[in-house]
Symmetry: C2
Subunit: 341 residues, 2 copies
């Protein structure tokens, strides 16, 4: 399988590292072999080779901060645009892992459409593209008979979408609710340990869990984007922020935290989605609730079904290798099923 990556940050590099480390294992267990034929970055250059780049050398060049350090070889093209790679690279699958643009999802949506038009499957980690473009992209995928997969966009590689879409096939899902933003859950856990909101946020920033501008996390927008993606995956719906109630955790005080604790409860930032809509809000859950014990940067999702009742999945929700595995999981699905139905 030939793959092209748009974006080559920690997640793209995580996938490349897995493909390098597990090449023999993936070949032996699944007959799966992947070659990276193109990589585009915003500011570190781009590389394209129809018969495949050297993954170890690619990782070394990316680690040095400049893809120009990748050695010349016959057939290598440098500096191709992301759109050229989406259209013209030899890839079977385009992997969109550029930074999410939650405002309008571009240019990722157009890149993915170009990939479908030129006969490629698309695997996404980019939340913005799904938030704004799921309906369009799903239509383009169907028209092309190609896969549109995005396991890595929610709970990193922890298989939340594969659980809902495949392992629970036969059940009717009525709701999903969960902790899908690790940064805010880390902050809430620290506040339970006695820190103020400001100190807990500073702590999260020091550890790299929170951005310098933490708005998308703490005001609930990242969780809201994931709720929209869950609506797409589980119900085939395209919900929009404009129709959603979204509240974050920035107004929670130490007094709120202690009041909940005194009542045997914990605050959690809960994203919720049903066939009718999606929302995000801090909620007080009894400490006996399965989502209540989820501490630190961990993520969790409870899927409510007609036949099984609640099924809860708990796992890591971030990290280059963990998210890279989410991409690999989609590649293996494409390998296993071939063309989309």
């Amino acid at each position: 399988m030939k793959i092209a990556l748009i974006g080559f940050g920690v997640v793209g590099q995580g996938l490349a590292q897995i493909l390098l480390d597990k090449a023999d294992d993936l070949q032996a267990r699944y007959g799966f072999e992947a070659q990276i034929v193109a990589v585009a970055t915003r500011s570190r250059g781009s590389l394209m080779h129809p018969s495949g780049l050297d993954t170890a050398a690619l990782l070394a060049a990316a680690g040095s901060g400049d893809l120009a350090k990748y050695s010349d070889q016959p057939g290598l093209a440098r500096g191709a645009s992301a759109m050229t790679i989406a259209r013209e690279s030899a890839a079977d699958v385009l992997i969109e892992v550029s930074p999410s643009n939650l405002t309008d999802g571009q240019p990722a949506i157009e890149l993915c459409e170009a990939a479908f038009t030129s006969g490629k499957h698309v695997v996404l980690a980019n939340k913005g593209a799904l938030l704004h473009g799921y309906a369009r992209l799903n239509a383009a995928a169907r028209a092309a008979g190609k896969h549109l997969l995005f396991e890595a966009s929610v709970m990193a590689g922890t298989p939340s979408l594969r659980l809902g879409m495949q392992a629970l096939a036969g059940c009717t899902i009525t709701q999903a609710r969960g902790i899908v933003n690790g940064t805010t859950n880390y902050i809430l856990t620290q506040m339970e340990g006695g820190l103020s909101y400001a100190d807990a946020l500073a702590d999260a920033q020091r550890l790299g869990y929170a951005e310098t501008d933490p708005t998308a996390d703490v005001e609930g927008w990242d969780a809201a984007a994931k709720a929209v993606i869950l609506g797409a995956a589980l119900f085939g719906k395209q919900f929009a922020f404009a129709d959603m109630s979204v509240r974050g955790i920035s107004q929670l005080t130490p007094a709120d935290i202690s009041a909940a604790a005194a009542a045997g409860e914990r605050w959690k930032l809960i994203a919720e989605v049903t066939p009718a809509g999606a929302s995000v809000a801090p909620m007080r859950l009894p400490i006996t609730h399965p989502l209540s014990g989820v501490a630190g940067a961990t993520n969790a999702l409870t899927i409510t079904t007609d036949l099984l009742g609640d099924v809860t999945l708990i796992g890591k929700g971030a990290g280059g290798i963990q998210t890279g595995f989410g991409l690999l999981s989609d590649l293996l699905e494409i390998h296993r099923t071939g063309q989309a139905r």
Copy 2:
């Protein structure tokens, strides 16, 4: 898809009820249609019809306690033995849901082998057959090019095996540990509420969670059988009770429970399996551990992987409809993939 059921207790009836209630939905969503062509019971008779039994009438007859009450129709055969049904019924899939025989797994193992030999897939909920016959049955399935699936045997229909075997494909699993016996977890939760072991057990028996002879549950043998099945599903290994350390909860006292609580911990009966072996023992877990918050008759499994770390699944572990869904889930997998690879 034509199916035959060996055993028609709560689990078999649960599947039949789902097939009846969801016939239109399963047809519309998956193009799946199932007909029950034979049912064998130990003491309530057996029915076989090559073009299918009437599911509603079958459930009514089973509910009355005697399959003889099922009305005559042309082509109906009564009283066929389980072996005749395994060999000669028109089924594409044999479903073995007779009561588990943890001593030697018979007659289920021989029935399943006969099913493979006569060209049928096999779906099992029967733990005894897998405990003693997994290696044989796996070999027979491969020789016949047929599926051997058993999602319902661990955590009822909560998709623990499908998570480990499919959704985590690409990861290497190093360990699985969990709460796979709801009866003992219910007893432990009641003891945390202040009951003695004897009173909590009596309570579980009154509610139908525990058998009159509770040995298999409270001494850990049911959990041990599930650990063996997890070893088969996740590692392709056939472990045996003789090589395993198995301890139950019958020796735990209220003093043990309070000592753990005072230390911020909870006792849980944990089944554990690695590629090297399997075991069952009561363990003290910190209350922050994901398995620690699992209360009552609920089940949970934590799968440890190289790429994602720990992934935990929590859900119901018993019930006719829930376990019946586990069987349906395997039938849909057969429908989706066709012949086994």
